[in-house]
């Protein structure tokens, strides 16, 4: 028996980073907003407090903050010819759950994409010619430009208080920052974090090789900061428990520390936790959403009517919500037609390990999630790809975030997997190794996509999302090339042994890489190749907005959160100043 509730103006599906920012803005503008969060409510005090939060087994290994995969996993296969099987344990990527969403367990690495990234197809054609790319690649322009998004990047960074050093303010290059970045309108809200030893070593080696190292932009803050919402964040103390953990220090920008206190104080907003949305309901013509149906933690079913539905879940869950609701045409890789689930992409991660003698003390456990040093000289299109046979690149950096020993105990290649040889190598190298991350872009490709699984179901009886993905040749070539550059930097640090591990196929769900899943509800200017328009509004059902990294037509060389924050404020602007004044399609198809 479904209980029908009183209609509200707006329903937000998922109260994470996007959901809490959107809800705050619309509630403040006078709209009645209901936020439906499938997980539990949780706050810095008492849930995130030390020392219980500093438990590697519970949070890193047992994935305490992650989406409940016993009820709601995904299925996976490398290729369409295989049978997809459930990801029975999370490893490769870790979507969060609960109030604050995945942002609660992020590292705080807060990048912008470059102007080139938003017009990737056009710029690639212009610079390298029409025939440069593998014809299977389906990269495309975003339908929005960097220049349009810049004010919203700025607003997001100032909400978070991001610590960094600008390299390009209004076209003027500033020493110490990233000279490759697209122009920003002003300096970061707070100065860069202190540099750890690995970062300092990397800086010296990269400078000697003629590259341009800069401090990692961090939303674990270098100093106290009061954001435009009036909320004060504290200084990060480099505890080394950031990614996969919640911050007990009020030093990491997460919804609990940047926006929820304001949102939850607004009587126009109602938070309902433990609510699993089953589908967005449509009218009989399937042209308008009428609200959502959800099941609460006690198993009771409700219909929540609403004039506007915003899905602000984790990227892959946004895709699944549209597929379960019948919004937009599902993608078919055989014909290349259809859009929902199309252009699923990821991140192409490689590593370089530099091993030192035992008199070089690294202290890897002293770190924040974003206190490293890196270069963008081999990221995006910052180097000439002529003759290389690939597009894209990676940032290379000493961006180590922790020394938590169950997961972090680097040993040189050739070390036995167990026994005395393994143990001695762990003891010898734990405190004397520098790791570089090579954080690579990910092109979209015709064969990689998301759809609904024909066999496996969630705890509510609905089909699971099916992921079909392997690394495109383009990205494997990129990983080889960029890793060779990382190895050169490793050697230039004076390490006695340097081991590069370029990402290799096949993609496996058994090894953590990143939680940077993108695509599937791609934005764009052509309804035949995008799910939402440039304002993240559904082409098919104009009172549904889909905000998430699911909008990215392909993924760039950087962590996706900064760009998602910019898109969130960009969309809020369109909602407040355009859509809500005259609810209709903002772009004619």
């Amino acid at each position: 028996m479904t209980q029908r509730l009183k209609e509200v103006d707006v329903v937000v599906i998922g109260v994470g980073m996007v959901g809490s920012i959107v809800a705050k803005e619309l509630a403040a503008a006078g709209y009645k907003v209901v936020g439906l969060e499938r997980g539990q409510a949780r706050f810095t005090v008492p849930e995130f407090q030390s020392p219980a939060i500093h438990d590697e087994l519970r949070f890193d290994i047992r994935k305490a903050l992650m989406q409940d995969n016993t009820r709601e996993p995904v299925t996976f296969r490398n290729h369409g010819s295989e049978t997809a099987l459930p990801v029975r344990r999370w490893e490769s990527f870790l979507p969060g759950t609960g109030l604050g969403g995945s942002m609660v367990h992020w590292n705080g690495q807060t990048y912008r994409f470059q102007a080139n990234d938003f017009q990737l197809a056009t710029r690639t054609r212009e610079r390298y010619g029409r025939n440069f790319l593998d014809p299977d690649l389906t990269i495309q322009d975003w339908g929005v430009t960097y220049q349009e998004l810049e004010p919203y990047y700025d607003r997001f960074e100032y909400l978070l208080g991001t610590s960094g050093k600008a390299g390009n303010i209004k076209g003027k290059i500033h020493p110490g920052g990233d000279p490759h970045e697209s122009p920003r309108s002003r300096e970061y809200p707070t100065p860069p974090m202190k540099e750890h030893f690995q970062g300092a070593m990397f800086r010296k080696a990269a400078t000697n090789l003629g590259y341009h190292p800069f401090p990692q932009p961090s939303s674990n803050l270098s100093q106290p900061y009061t954001n435009p919402e009036g909320i004060k964040l504290n200084t990060c103390v480099f505890c080394g428990f950031c990614e996969r953990y919640a911050c007990e220090h009020f030093a990491k920008a997460v919804p609990q520390t940047i926006i929820l206190p304001v949102l939850l104080a607004n009587p126009n907003f109602e938070l309902r936790t433990g609510c699993q949305v089953q589908r967005i309901n449509l009218d009989s013509a399937k042209k308008q959403a009428t609200g959502v149906t959800y099941i609460d933690a006690a198993g009771r079913e409700f219909e929540q009517p609403a004039s506007l539905v915003i899905t602000s879940s984790f990227a892959i869950n946004n895709v699944r919500m549209l597929l379960l609701s019948g919004i937009g045409k599902p993608y078919d890789p055989a014909s290349g037609k259809g859009v929902v689930g199309r252009n699923y992409a990821y991140q192409t991660m490689s590593t370089v390990a530099s091993f030192f003698d035992e008199d070089v003390i690294i202290n890897p456990f002293m770190a924040s999630g974003a206190s490293g040093t890196l270069i963008n000289d081999f990221a995006g299109d910052n180097f000439d790809h002529s003759g290389l046979g690939f597009i894209g690149g990676a940032f290379i950096g000493a961006v180590n975030t922790n020394g938590r020993p169950i997961q972090y105990h680097p040993v040189p290649p050739g070390t036995p997997a167990w026994g005395k040889g393994w143990k001695q190598a762990v003891v010898k190298h734990y405190n004397h190794t520098v790791m570089f991350s090579l954080h690579g872009s990910s092109v979209s490709q015709r064969q990689n996509y998301l759809d609904l699984d024909p066999t496996y179901r969630d705890a509510w009886g609905q089909p699971l999302l099916r992921m079909t993905f392997d690394f495109p040749q383009n990205d494997l070539k990129m990983a080889e090339y960029v890793t060779s550059k990382g190895v050169e930097i490793g050697k230039a640090t004076g390490a006695k042994q340097v081991a590069g591990s370029p990402r290799r196929a096949p993609y496996t769900v058994t090894q953590y890489q990143t939680t940077h899943n993108t695509g599937g509800t791609v934005m764009g200017s052509d309804p035949s190749t995008s799910v939402v328009n440039r304002y993240l509004q559904s082409w098919d059902v104009p009172n549904v907005f889909v905000i998430g990294a699911s909008a990215y037509p392909q993924n760039a060389s950087w962590n996706p959160t900064g760009t998602l924050g910019a898109l969130t404020y960009w969309t809020i602007d369109a909602l407040k100043n355009k859509y809500l004044k005259n609810p209709s399609a903002l772009v004619s198809a």
């Binding site: 005090v45 407090q49 049978t83 344990r89």
Partner: protein, 253 residues
Amino acid sequence: MAMVQLTRRNFVGSIGAAAVVPATSMLSNAVGAASVTDGPVPAKPASADAKPVYLFFNAAEARFIEAACERLIPADESGPGALAAGVPNYLDKQLGGAWGAGERLYRSGPWVAGTPSQGYQLPFTPGELFHTALRAINLDLEKRGTAFDSLPVDAQDNYLKLLEAGTLDLDGVPSGVFFSLLLGMTVEGFFSDPVYGGNRDMVAWRMIGFPGAYADYYEAIDRHGVKFEREPISLAEDGRGHIHVHQDIPANL
């Protein structure tokens, strides 16, 4: 059971090749080593005789687990091994609790053997998997007239390599799957917080220099290359009662 390459001749050959070190003597060595590691002597030193109370493993399983863990992470001059660190006790408590029962494991069928990149696809919970595999292993060794813990260490290593290679069918559990779970959980037990029953007295953390749950390096982070000398801190020390309270954000909004 397929492809059993371990023969009596292998065992005998191994005995000739290496000194026999019974697990009990490794345990005493290990504790001896722990007492001379740097830092103050713990208030209640771990006793070599303090046998864990096994709630999950039966006696035969426990004998295998104790001996096998100590081969995976042996006591040596760098410090105690898995046995002295209490890893078998960690395994027992994990496997007897929620994790052993399938915590965080999607358990709906159909059950299909997948590709390596699709990960674990067996219906066994970790607890079921251990019981099934250990019974098969102990029966296999019994047929050969021996038991794992009475083998010389080289022969123990050879048998573990056989499991690792994945060539044995342990009553439906591929031996490689069992081995990688055993190894993964042994490393977990060695390095996880002592509140979980392994890493006794934080021996593994002392060995590598990890300070544990201790959590403020603001003053130390830019003193590059300086060894961080202090006792590690366990969750059990309760952060010395310290709670961070925000002046503006109330608890439980």
